[in-house]
């Protein structure tokens, strides 16, 4: 098949699949969705293979026949790499979602939405020119808001959707401005490497930056992402960690040449500061998904630094590694959520015991994002560190963010693996599950606990969910080797790994791990180790016992090596992160709310105008027509005589008229 056919198939197949899911009978929902998701991999891998051979292609036509307004798809290294990432995470998440929405009455709608999103996202990354990009960008944004609001039984879901929509909508105006300015300057909407001169060029660059910042939840527009976590977990995994939020990074990577100079410099600063701020927010959150959302902001910030300092290849490498790792964590979080009915960290305390496989996947994903060698994100983050060496300030911020990622991921991991939960936290966990069962409503099977120290309520976690998480975790492990091929795909030199960057990354990792939890840090690490060990080596009890023994040894030693310094450091970091979190909720959220209220006021004002003037006019017209109609129907007596009389009178009138005109 020709490259053009593969391009259009990559967009059309998930779309058709989504329609199929919507129309299929409910019992066929899962196989249809999974099949559509799987078959989407075919054109994507064909595109990657074509791009790897160095082929490029474009296919498109004029929009409504207007010259200069071309819509189409293009195949090159960047678009193929992105299409591959979208297809892979999309396929895994959709398969996972068949399990997640198994019992949900509106499951088909959610699955169809996810598949439609995959199609729109493919159109976005494969778009050839700004017009197609803009179209796909809008569809993706609309689907994002719709999918966040999917769980409308929860009050925070519509609120989060509105906030996400308003924030990204405000930022999207930047993309429009950029497109208009580019059109005004060049009369073409094709991707270009040359920025127009003067004010128009500045408008193009700052507009693109604004759009990217909004979509990728960067400072100062990062707060919508935490609210978006009210959406279903597969949506969070696919849209709000792996692909849609990465669209901002893709936009910058795609237009790297266009943005060369101060715009990229600015993007780097924004990214670096978001990387640190996001890490602090993640440290302060009490909800697992919101921790992951803060982490996503932070990691996307690192990608921005990657684009600014090292070029698209570095950023896309981290994008791929992050997509695999973070989506894995979200998928595991969804499994925990199914088990406990909540994503609050306290409700999830000790869930690792009940869900060892999901926790193992979570730990792998977390280790990758925290840059534990030799997992994928270690290599990609390392490439960013190496690239950031050109700018010492960025380097410091990136390393800080690295330390932060180790800390904020270790914290939830420790809570999840907490072994004291069954006796100490039983009632807490039970309460959480109670709430979850209420939320889940009918169809949720649960075993009632017996006695005072009732075991945590167990709801069935569909195996497909755990399996999907495991597959993505595996992909995250394998992706580490993909740095050089990916760079080759993008036509860039292989990512650097210098001694300084490796040492810096490792130092940051260790620092983060130490700071995370007062002196108990390493002991807890040991607990985490046991939990992972127990999960992975369930069959081999002896080995698990050995690991546990070793971990206890480490813990015992560490208890005695209690140092005050990490204690103080941890308290400081915690206070700082709480402060940042409060500012985030208070100031920025309030600002966003203010914008929302302003919009509401304007809407009600326009509503009044509408009721007063326009509606009254329309209503009046309708009433007049109604009266006329009733009057006319009075003439319909059904009496033939009267009809005939009218006909004769009419004929007489016409004859009179003719006679009169003939006279004059």
């Amino acid at each position: 098949m020709s490259p053009a056919a593969w391009l259009w198939l990559a967009v059309a197949l998930p779309l058709v699949g989504g329609l199929g899911v919507r129309l299929a009978p409910r019992r066929l929902m899962a196989p249809v969705a999974a099949g559509a998701a799987a078959i989407t991999l075919l054109p994507a891998s064909a595109l990657v293979a074509l791009a790897a051979r160095g082929e490029t292609a474009a296919s498109g036509g004029r929009w409504l026949g207007s010259a200069g307004l071309e819509v189409g798809l293009r195949l090159d290294g960047l678009s193929a790499a992105m299409a591959g990432i979208v297809a892979l995470t999309g396929a895994v998440v959709v398969v996972y979602a068949t399990g997640y929405f198994e019992e949900h009455p509106r499951g088909r709608s959610a699955l169809a939405g996810l598949l439609a999103f995959v199609a729109a996202m493919q159109a976005l990354v494969l778009a050839d020119g700004f017009l197609m990009l803009l179209i796909a960008w809008e569809i993706v944004g609309a689907l994002s808001a719709r999918l966040i609001a999917f769980g409308r039984e929860r009050p925070d879901a519509p609120a989060g959707a509105v906030r996400a929509f308003l924030t990204t909508r405000a930022a999207d105006t930047g993309l429009y401005l950029a497109v208009f300015a580019l059109w005004a300057a060049t009369g073409s909407l094709a991707f270009t490497a040359d920025r127009p001169d003067g004010a128009l060029g500045a408008l193009v660059a700052s507009g693109l930056l604004l759009a990217a910042i909004g979509k990728s939840a960067q400072v100062p527009l990062q707060s919508w992402l935490a609210g978006a976590m009210a959406g279903p977990t597969p949506v969070s995994a696919l849209l709000h960690s792996a692909t849609m939020v990465a669209a901002g990074v893709y936009l910058l990577a795609r237009n790297e040449a266009l943005l060369a100079g101060w715009p990229l410099e600015l993007a780097g600063w924004i990214g670096a500061s978001t990387a640190v701020l996001g890490a602090l927010i993640a440290l302060g959150e009490r909800d697992l998904k919101r921790v992951l959302a803060g982490s996503t902001s932070s990691q996307l910030g690192l990608m921005l630094v990657g684009v600014a300092a090292g070029g698209p290849a570095v950023a896309v490498f981290h994008l791929a590694a992050h997509a695999a790792g973070k989506a894995t964590m979200f998928l595991a979080a969804g499994a925990f959520q199914h088990a406990r009915g909540s994503t609050d960290l306290e409700d999830l305390r000790g869930v690792a015991r009940a869900q060892p496989a999901a926790f193992a996947a979570f730990a792998l994903g977390a280790a990758s994002i925290a840059a534990v060698p030799p997992l994928a994100a270690f290599w990609s983050k390392d490439a960013i560190v190496a690239a950031a060496e050109t700018n010492p300030a960025w380097l410091v911020l990136v390393l800080l963010a690295g330390a932060g990622s180790a800390a904020y991921l270790l914290r939830p991991a420790l809570v999840l693996a907490d072994r004291g939960a069954i006796t100490v936290g039983g009632s807490r966990a039970g309460a959480g599950a109670e709430r979850g069962a209420r939320q889940a409503g009918a169809g949720a099977e649960r075993r009632e606990g017996q006695g005072a120290d009732a075991a945590p309520v167990q709801r069935r976690v569909p195996p497909v969910m755990v399996g999907a998480a495991a597959v993505l975790a595996g992909a995250g492990v394998l992706l580490g080797a993909l740095g050089a091929p990916l760079a080759g795909l993008l036509g860039a030199p292989a990512p650097e790994t210098t001694l300084v960057s490796v040492a810096g990354s490792l130092l940051a990792l260790v620092a983060g791990a130490v700071v995370v939890r007062r002196p108990r840090a390493l002991a807890a690490l040991g607990h985490a180790g046991t939990a992972v060990g127990a999960g992975l080596l369930r069959g081999a009890d002896a080995a698990g016992g050995a690991v546990r023994l070793g971990a206890r040894g480490v813990a015992a030693v560490d208890e005695r090596v209690a140092v005050r310094l990490p204690d103080a450091l941890a308290r400081g970091a915690a206070a700082l992160s709480r402060g940042v979190d409060r500012a985030d909720r208070g100031g920025l959220d309030a600002a966003v709310d203010g914008v929302g209220r302003g919009g509401l006021l304007a809407a009600s004002a326009s509503d009044r105008v509408e009721r007063g003037g326009i509606d009254a006019a329309v209503d009046g017209l309708a009433r007049a027509v109604g009266r006329g109609g009733r009057g006319a129907s009075a003439a319909q007596t059904g009496k033939l005589h009267e009809y005939l009389r009218d006909a004769v009178l009419g004929a007489a009138a016409i004859a009179l008229l003719i006679a009169l005109t003939a006279i004059t």
């Binding site: 003439a635 007596t637 059904g638 005589h641 004769v648």
Partner: protein, 102 residues
């Protein structure tokens, strides 16, 4: 040869009788007969005018034949409708047929 005013006067009388039949009669059959009379009056006028203005033209004759055919068709369809209506509602009185009242 009969003069034109005589012909026109006869036509006007016939048309008046027909108009009375259409407007004044309550039976559908009578109304249709009234229409026939009005058509006949019209035909008489046409013949009269043609004889007066274009005595040699053959087209007038054809025109009259067309009107005759029209009358025959109109009567056929009209009476068929009346018969059908009568079978349906056992009456041919127009004042009783008010199903189309709006």
């Amino acid at each position: 040869m009969i003069s034109l005013p005589v012909v026109l006067a006869a036509g006007a009388v016939m048309f008046g009788i027909g108009l009375y039949g259409v407007l004044g009669q309550t039976n559908a059959v009578m109304v249709i007969m009234g229409v026939e009379l009005m058509l006949g009056a019209g035909m008489l006028n046409v013949v009269g005018f043609l004889r007066y203005a274009h005595p040699d033209a053959a087209s007038g004759t054809f025109f009259v034949l067309v009107i005759m055919t029209l009358m025959a068709v109109e009567a056929t369809v009209g009476f068929a409708l009346v018969v059908a209506t009568f079978r349906h509602s056992r009456t041919a009185e127009l004042d009783d047929l008010t199903e189309l009242s709006g």
